[in-house]
């Protein structure tokens, strides 16, 4: 009887702890999203920048679509939608990582640690904010490009998959950025990673098809998961609905997340040990 009572109390305490951790995670997510909304100067670039590059590519490379190796498309712009989603979400993730680093720099992170907040909720809350923002960005890019002649051949279901993929990319890339922020505690260092991330997209088929590449570049692009993620989303736009495209769009960011989120948790543990 007494053992049963203790077990019940333990279960209750555990359940209450879980409930608190959940509430704290939600509160941290809410804070992260409010922080994004309150600072339009930070989010507008991540929305404008990819559209700018899409317009730039359409004007610079439209004549290249006649070259052998390019899929049949009405314009180069249709090829760039998926690349815009990738760029935008990566940019947004850097902003999210920098915001976490700013929390560390300003001492807010230490105040959170001094409070009875679940440690993991600090990180998960931030990543959840990234994921939501990623989804919003993906939907935004899709809706903006449609009036400019981009026809999403997979229809509304394809748009839903692209939106969901945007959230998953935000979560997975956000994990790397959070790891960097927690490791260095410097917003400057996190910001400095952006160009590298951006350029890493060029080692994929996000801008030109793999069929037009040669040698080592083609080999790297073949192995780069971003190529397959991009091609999944691209096929939803220019070819139509296919199970293969959906799987590529959703499972690849999940796979990246399996690497990045444990890395972020490890960085969090190291920082907590150092405090």
């Amino acid at each position: 009887m007494s053992t049963g009572t203790i077990a019940t109390r333990t279960e209750f305490a555990h359940s209450a702890e879980t409930s608190h951790a959940w509430a704290q995670t939600m509160a941290m997510s809410k804070r992260s999203i409010i922080a994004i909304v309150r600072q339009p100067a930070l989010i507008i670039p991540s929305l404008i920048f990819p559209l700018f590059f899409a317009a730039l590519g359409a004007s610079s490379f439209n004549r290249a679509t006649q070259l052998p190796g390019f899929p049949k498309v009405d314009s180069f712009l249709a090829l760039t939608l998926a690349a815009s989603v990738l760029q935008g979400v990566i940019f947004g993730s850097v902003t999210g990582g920098a915001a976490l680093a700013v929390d560390i720099e300003t001492g807010f992170f230490d105040r959170l640690l001094a409070s009875p907040t679940s440690r993991v909720s600090i990180l998960i809350g931030r990543l959840a904010g990234n994921a939501l923002f990623g989804s919003v960005e993906a939907l935004f890019f899709t809706l903006v490009m449609i009036p400019f002649g981009v026809n999403i051949r997979s229809g509304p279901a394809g748009i839903a998959v692209i939106t969901l993929a945007g959230g998953l990319i935000g979560l997975s890339i956000g994990g790397f950025m959070a790891a960097m922020a927690l490791r260095t505690g410097s917003a400057e260092a996190v910001q400095g990673v952006f160009p590298l991330l951006f350029v890493s997209m060029f080692f994929s088929s996000a801008f030109f098809p793999r069929e037009t590449m040669q040698g080592i570049y083609r080999t790297i692009a073949n192995y780069n998961p971003l190529s397959h993620l991009y091609e999944g989303m691209r096929d939803l736009v220019i070819t139509g609905w296919s199970f293969d495209a959906v799987l590529k769009s959703l499972l690849i960011p999940v796979g990246i997340g399996f690497a990045s989120i444990p890395l972020a948790l490890l960085a969090l543990r190291r920082r907590l040990r150092a405090v």
Binding site: Q39, A41, L42, P45, F49, F52, F53, A55, L56, G57, A58, S59, S60, F61, N62, R63, A64, L67, G69, T95, A98, V102, E105, T184, S186, A187, E188, A189, Q191, G192, V193, F194, P195, L196, V199, S200, F202, F203, F207, F208, T212, M213, Q214, G215, I216, Y217, R218, I220, A221
Partner: protein, 280 residues
Amino acid sequence: MTSTSTSTFAHAPATRATTSRAASGLMMRGLRTITRLPSAFFPAMLMPIFQSVAFSGTFFAITHVPGFPTDRSINWFMPLGVLMGSAFAGVGLGFSLIRDLETGFFDRLRMSPAPRNSLILGPMYAAWFRSLFVAVVVAGVGFALGARLTGGVLGMVMLFGGAMGIATVATGWGLGLAFIFQDMRGAAIMQLGLFISMFLSTAQAPLSVMTGWLHGVASLNPITNILRMSRQGFVNHTVNGHTVGPGVTWHDTWGGLIAIVGLSVAAVIFARRGLNKLDA
């Protein structure tokens, strides 16, 4: 009257010497940051290397479009990488200034008797050294990847001149924004501003290959002139859109020089006005 004039004349070299000493000190500090916070500098140095390599590979097929002035994509994209790296070397000094503003170190500099001009010139000198370092490394990687210098030594002079020029412009831009924002919000705008202005030019494709709106914008963008000047040692020379062969020409140089001088003056004034506002 005479004594005042004499005194003014006596002060001028002294002030110049003080400015120069203070600027040199700040330059050394700017260079030391490379080893003290490598995580902030090296991504900015690696980025142009990756960019040159990645663009050359990704956009390799663009050289097959009729009218493209070289058959080697690295010849087209390596000078862009050098200029981009130099620009980010300059903007990096803006990042450092933001850190100094946030930590209060810059307030201590303002309270010191260091002449105001040295607070601009010091980071500018550091940016030149950083940009030279970046230019040498990126060009070296470009040559290792098969870039072919068709314009001789003058071609390299043009490339390094363009790099130093763009570093000057980027430093002024970075410092000015740092004075305005005084926190890391400014960093995103510094990077974005540079990216946009550089890509609204012939960064990715020559004017003869472009279609649509970008052709008009790139024709007016002074960065196009700087890129034309910097690239001429690596691509075929064109007159009225027709390829006439390799070599450095005054025709492809003067526009770049004017653009560098004009943009540099505007950027330094922007930075100086930002500093004045901070003092007000």
